[in-house]
């Protein structure tokens, strides 16, 4: 790895010691959910990492963000140029499309994420809309194609995605130079990451170097084959053609337990705080219900006071089991649009959309 004049390789690359390594290369690391429990904002070193290709080396001296395509004035911006735009921030819960893939039955190929391919960070930088306007984009029809500095080997398709211009021009969509106050770490897209709040994580392109305005959705593998969800329910294990799928965009409503751990031992008569997080993409969480009796009865959990438009809410439910037994506790979030978590997952060939009611088994002993 070069580290001389003109090169700046961000410290902190490599494998964070406390994450679950799903893949060493490309870098795909999952956060153990007990570690998410500690704070509303996920510390950078605990935030899950999803990469499709090898992590690129970044030479800051020659780094530029190119903005071209259907624009009046193509741009080539340095980080200093970006610093002159108005600075904004968004607290955003990012979740990988495939979070929970390991639970689909029958199993599907892909990174076998369980519950921890989700995290919340304070992203700061500039409004994408401000940059697009200075390039002369005024219409909201069409698409914005985003490419990072990561490059594939051999015939592997490059990881390139696009989002509709309407979302790109939304005031909350940003080009982030900082994650929780620090320069965006290399694993998370140093030095610049597109942040598309409320949408599945793959829309938020890492190591961003090229934005292209187009009248069409990008025609490559990662738009036309991958990251697509069925438009109808499909039989588990069956195939489905691209014509019956659409790009996965906004996240669903979902909740997860962060404490206690699944199979946790608990003493009868002791007070246990059941807690976790709930999120709903572009919508807000309206309510989280908790059951401690396998879903026979439900009670409303208390929502935490930390909140932001695209960020998860903490939920808490105190419980004192007075009798021994093996209890199945469940959490079910409902959002402000009335969407709620299903009891059974909608199986799909790529293993997306896992948002079933979360469950942990709690073993109460005398």
């Amino acid at each position: 790895m070069a580290s001389g004049a003109g090169f700046l390789l961000q410290a902190g690359a490599g494998v964070p010691s406390r994450l679950i390594v799903r893949s060493e290369s490309p870098a795909d690391f999952e956060t153990p959910v007990p570690l998410l429990d500690r704070s509303w904002i996920t510390p950078n070193e605990l935030h899950f990492v999803r990469s499709h290709l090898r992590t690129p080396a970044v030479a800051l001296a020659t780094w530029r963000l190119t903005v071209d395509g259907q624009v009046e004035r193509p741009l080539s911006l340095t980080l200093q140029d970006l610093a002159r735009y108005r600075q904004v921030e968004q607290v955003v819960t990012l979740e990988c499309s495939g979070n929970g893939r390991a639970f689909h039955d029958p199993p599907v190929p892909g990174i076998q994420w369980e519950k921890g391919a989700v995290g919340t960070a304070r992203w700061s930088g500039v409004r994408l809309a401000d940059v697009l306007r200075s390039a002369g984009v005024t219409s909201s029809g069409g698409h914005l194609i985003a490419d990072g500095a990561d490059t594939p080997v051999s015939e592997v398709p490059d990881f390139v995605r696009s989002i509709p211009l309407e979302k790109a021009l939304h005031a909350d969509t940003i080009l982030a130079t900082r994650m929780n106050g620090d320069p965006v770490p290399l694993n998370h897209g140093f030095p610049l990451r597109l942040i598309v709040p409320g949408w599945e994580g793959a829309a938020s392109t890492k190591w961003l170097v090229h934005l292209q305005v187009s009248d069409r959705e990008f025609d490559g593998f990662f738009m036309q084959t991958a990251y697509r969800i069925p438009t109808r329910f499909v039989a588990p294990g069956s195939a489905i053609g691209p014509a019956d799928t659409v790009p996965y965009t906004e996240l669903q409503v979902k909740s997860v337990f962060t404490s206690p751990l699944d199979e946790a031992p608990v003493r009868a008569g002791s007070r246990v705080e059941l807690r976790g997080f709930a999120w709903a993409g572009e919508a807000d969480i309206a309510q989280v219900d908790v059951s401690t009796d396998s879903g026979r009865t439900w009670s409303v959990a208390t929502l935490g006071t930390d909140r932001a438009p695209y960020a998860w809410r903490r939920w808490v439910f105190p419980w004192t089991p007075d009798r021994s037994g093996s209890y199945l506790a469940m959490s079910r979030a409902t959002d402000t649009r009335g969407r709620t978590q299903p009891t059974v997952a909608a199986w799909n060939p790529s293993g997306y959309l896992w948002n079933v009611i979360d469950k942990v088994r709690i073993n109460v002993e005398i």
Binding site: V15, Q112, E114, P265
Partner: protein, 156 residues
């Protein structure tokens, strides 16, 4: 962490099919571009593996035609749907002994075997001794550290 995960993984791979020619083919043609755990975490039948392998061939994998069948045999046998999900890299609480436990216990067990049922320190001592008899990879100088760790984190 990376090293220990690789140890677990290699231990798993080694146990499953120590002499299958497909393991060498995988090491020669697959893991030159991506890590082995990308493969080892999958749970696919032969049709699923054929689909994945065809994708990799389209994407430039340089696998000779005559190596395809033995590789598919190996993948479909070793990384099949009946395996439990996600047991190669389960979370363990931090602490001295966590790395020993990861290699010694999680090479063969799901982490849930540690959390259920509640055990006393004596139970853990007996269990660890039995597992060592049965071949658990615990260095002699690490036995008491492992028992300490398990007793501290997974006990009454």
């Amino acid at each position: 962490m990376l090293r220990s995960s690789l140890v677990v993984l290699l231990t798993l791979l080694g146990r499953m099919q120590p002499s299958h020619p497909g393991a060498d083919i995988m090491a020669t043609y697959c893991t030159v571009c991506h890590g082995p755990s990308l493969i080892a975490q999958q749970r696919l039948d032969r049709t699923g593996w054929t689909r994945e392998l065809d994708k990799m061939l389209r994407w430039g994998a340089r696998l000779p035609e005559d190596q395809k069948a033995p590789l598919l045999d190996y993948l479909a046998l070793t990384f099949q749907p009946s395996r439990p999900a996600g047991n190669t890299a389960r979370y363990l609480p931090d602490g001295a002994g966590a790395e020993v436990a990861r290699t010694a216990c999680l090479s063969c067990h799901d982490v849930r075997v540690l959390t259920q049922p509640l055990r006393t320190r004596d139970d853990w001592t007996r269990t660890v001794d039995r597992m060592i008899e049965w071949g658990a990879p615990v260095p002699a100088q690490s036995t008491s550290q492992l028992i300490d760790y398990l007793s501290a984190h997974f006990s009454r």
